[in-house]
Amino acid sequence: MERLDVVVIGGGLVGAATAFRLAQAGASVAVVEAGYPNIGASGANAGSLHFQLERRFLENGEALADQAAQVLSLNRLAIEEWRRLDAEMGPDLHIHMRGGLMVAETADQVRTLERKVAREVEGGLDTRLIDGAEARIIAPGLSEAVTAAAYLASEGHADPKALTPAFMTRAQTAGVQLLQGARLTAVGSDAQGYRLTVRRGEADIELATRKVLIAAGAWTGRIGELFNLHLPIYPVALLMNVTERAPPMLEQLIQHVGQRLSMKQAHAGNMLIGGGWPSRMRLDATGRFDLDRSAELLTPSLAGNLGVASRIFPPVAELNLIRSWTGITAITADQTPLVGEVPQAPGVYVAAGGSAFTLGPVFARLLARLILDEREDRLSIFSPARFGHLNSFMGGRLA
């Protein structure tokens, strides 16, 4: 059996894009995908390109906000990456970077915005605090309830339905082998790396590889168990809503600093409304979260999400909702992404946990360098080494 350089577990954005970058550099790569490419959060998310600090980073105290601010360096790289992608991959990705506004209504929220903008400016992002009137000049549909906003000209959105397939098609052209409908079922290790057993239909496929990248989104923790590792990734089920197509009414990405809201008008004219409202994950027969079934819509989340959307951007209230859907994504124990090699399992890399649509393409570029043993310090703050203590008694040579 010929030994591959890298097997990527997961055919989502991070997996497809990293496989492509690795193959571009000449590595032999296979992608193992349990469903089909883009079936998970990579295709089900609402396509925000958000580079400001997210509201979730700001609501759990200053210590966590400090830690989260580390992500700013990566956000700066991501802005460049998306601009490059627009040139590299063409118009089908519908990359639309016409600005983003994170709005505030109350005095408290305005103070949070002020602190946030200061943090971002310090981190090298050119966010600007503007008043409600200026926000309404930029985005005329915003309501009078908006008293201030943080404006970042490079924010926007892209098409999640197009991005992963574009990377996967290029990866396959560059020689990447895609195994879809294929589930990793067993892992062993040897002197040269890892031996993976993958079940596709009725057949078991054996793969030998030097390195492995786990890029399985919400399934990352479960895949980690096959490597005898704890990967502190927690699945979260979110709600998203889409309206009928509408005439152009919103150029920017709208977020809210004190409420769960993200809103944009996609290229086809549909308004996408989300922002992190919870859905309820179903349980499997053993009582654990069932990651293979879609989460259940929670009516209060729906009313809450559409309520804040209608209050901040009233024209949306007149549109028809055609679909509310749930999608399962993942976050880490400390909110910052988990990207890099697992110290207790040499040759096993992981990339998961938060904002992986916005950051996925840049993760892929840097990870490929890391996996190919090039010097790459920009990912070190996201290294799984920070959770090394969880794996003090884990890993080991796997028979």
């Binding site: 469903g35 089909y36 079936i39 819509l297 009516t299 559409l306």
Partner: protein, 460 residues
């Protein structure tokens, strides 16, 4: 489940979705025993068959006046029930179960509201099967059911000169009604050969005997159309509609072209299945398309407290729907402990017989009207399949060549992502992807079952 554990007690004992023959029969067989909410999209009860004249197929149209009178008498009895709150003019957007209660999210004249009940009966009827042919999205092209509703409710013909085409014998009746209402009928064309229609009928002699009057009325319509000089055509699978900005002709293959200013297509009907699917009830593929909800002999669906009746379990007309509704009502009474097994069985007997008889006819009609799988008669590659998102056949074939998962094709092409959420194109895509298929591999049914104004759902 005790209501003290699940918070506030539900508003009703039973919620019935659909006030057609099935929903009415269920309420009537409960003898005024429970608090019942009946929800319907129309302002008054009756269903498609009695309220507005049928948008969808209904057996009564084929029936003698006597049977029609029976349905009307049941409607009058239903309207007199004092234990029923009729909530008309409301669409059910969502249906969910928690802690032993079902919650229905409704959209109506006063915005969005919720109603809860310990049990729910889904009897939501059916809708026209859309079969894509070249030109089917041109203005002026309607379903035969829609054309019939228009004629009956407005006493107007939609256009001066209509062309009918499809596979379902209902189009003979509608064409005759169009003539009677003063319209001109350019042609009635069937995709099947005449011999196939007749052969399918005579290979089911029992149905032909018991429903002789029905078959005669279809034949009668055909005869009267023929006498009036209307061209009848059979065995013309290559249908297309022509026109610039509006329908101007129906073309049958290369040879024949019939000028018209409206076209009615009639290929049959599919169960309304959004709510059962979104509620996680087990369904199986229906013919000629769509999904019918699984049930046991008492019309219980796969989740506790959920019952189904009428076209929801497979399209088969008003008589079978009434019988199933009555059975579902008895099942609710049985499950509530209002009646015992013996009484339920005894009272169910005549309804089971009626259902069985009606099923013979529906099996016959299904066989006669079957347009066959979409994949067996593909239109031109540039024919629109998903009309909401303008996805053409070639787009779907290209996506299927890359990955034959329906979900993947949807993501790649936007097929099924528009305002109708796949209600009209899912069956075509499934047929292209190849049979057999399961609900699990099809589109995921989601809230809302009908588009609804954002402002109506928003928390204030």
């Amino acid at each position: 489940m005790s209501s003290s554990l699940s918070g506030a007690s539900p508003d009703y004992d039973l919620a019935v979705i659909g006030a057609g023959p099935a929903g009415q029969a269920a309420c009537l067989s409960l003898n005024g025993a429970l608090r019942i909410a009946v929800i319907d999209e129309q302002a008054r009860p009756g269903g498609q068959i009695l309220r507005q004249p049928p948008r969808a197929f209904s057996v009564a149209d084929w029936m003698t006046g006597r049977a029609y009178r029976g349905l009307k008498a049941r409607l009058a009895a239903f309207e007199a029930l004092s234990n029923v709150d009729f909530m008309g003019g409301r669409s059910v957007l969502g249906l969910r179960e928690a802690g032993g209660a079902w919650t229905l999210t409704l959209s109506g004249p006063s915005g969005v509201e919720e109603v809860s009940a310990r049990r729910v009966l889904i009897a939501g009827g059916c809708y026209d099967l859309a079969v894509p042919i070249p030109g089917w999205t041109l203005p002026g092209v309607m379903s035969a059911g829609g054309t019939q509703a228009f004629i009956k409710s407005q006493q107007l013909v939609p256009g001066k000169r209509l062309a009918f085409a499809g596979s379902h014998p209902l189009q003979l009746l509608v064409a005759e009604q169009a003539l009677e209402a003063g319209g001109e009928v350019a042609v009635v064309a069937f995709i099947q050969p005449f011999s196939t229609l007749v052969w399918r009928a005579i290979t089911r002699p029992w149905a032909a005997l018991t429903h002789g009057a029905v078959l005669l009325s279809a034949l009668g319509s055909a005869w009267r159309l023929f006498r009036a000089g209307v061209p009848l055509r059979f065995g013309r699978p290559a249908l297309s509609v022509e026109g610039q900005g509006r329908v101007s002709a129906l073309r049958l293959g290369q040879t024949e072209r019939f000028e018209c200013d409206a076209a009615a297509l009639c290929f049959g009907f599919m169960p309304q299945a959004d709510l059962p699917r979104a509620a996680g009830l087990q369904v199986t593929p229906a013919r000629p398309g769509g999904w019918k909800t699984n049930h046991d002999e008492w019309m219980r669906a796969s989740r506790r407290g959920a019952y189904v009746a009428g076209e929801t379990t497979g399209v088969k007309g008003a008589e079978a729907a009434s019988a199933e509704g009555a059975l579902a009502g008895l099942a609710v009474a049985l499950d509530e402990g209002l009646i015992d097994q013996d009484e339920a069985r005894r009272r169910a007997r005549p309804w089971r017989k009626a259902r069985e008889a009606a099923m013979w006819f529906s099996a016959l009609l299904e066989a006669v009207a079957d347009p066959g799988p979409f994949s067996a008669r593909l239109p031109d590659a540039d024919t629109i399949i998903c009309r909401c998102e303008d996805v053409v056949l070639a787009d779907l074939q290209a996506a299927l060549a890359r990955c034959d998962e329906v979900g993947s094709v949807k993501l790649a092409t936007r097929c099924g992502m528009g305002a109708c959420q796949g209600r009209n194109c899912e069956h075509s895509l499934l047929s292209l992807a190849g049979e057999p298929h399961s609900e699990r591999s099809a589109f995921t049914a989601r809230f809302p079952a009908r588009p609804v104004r954002i402002g109506d759902l928003a928390a204030r």
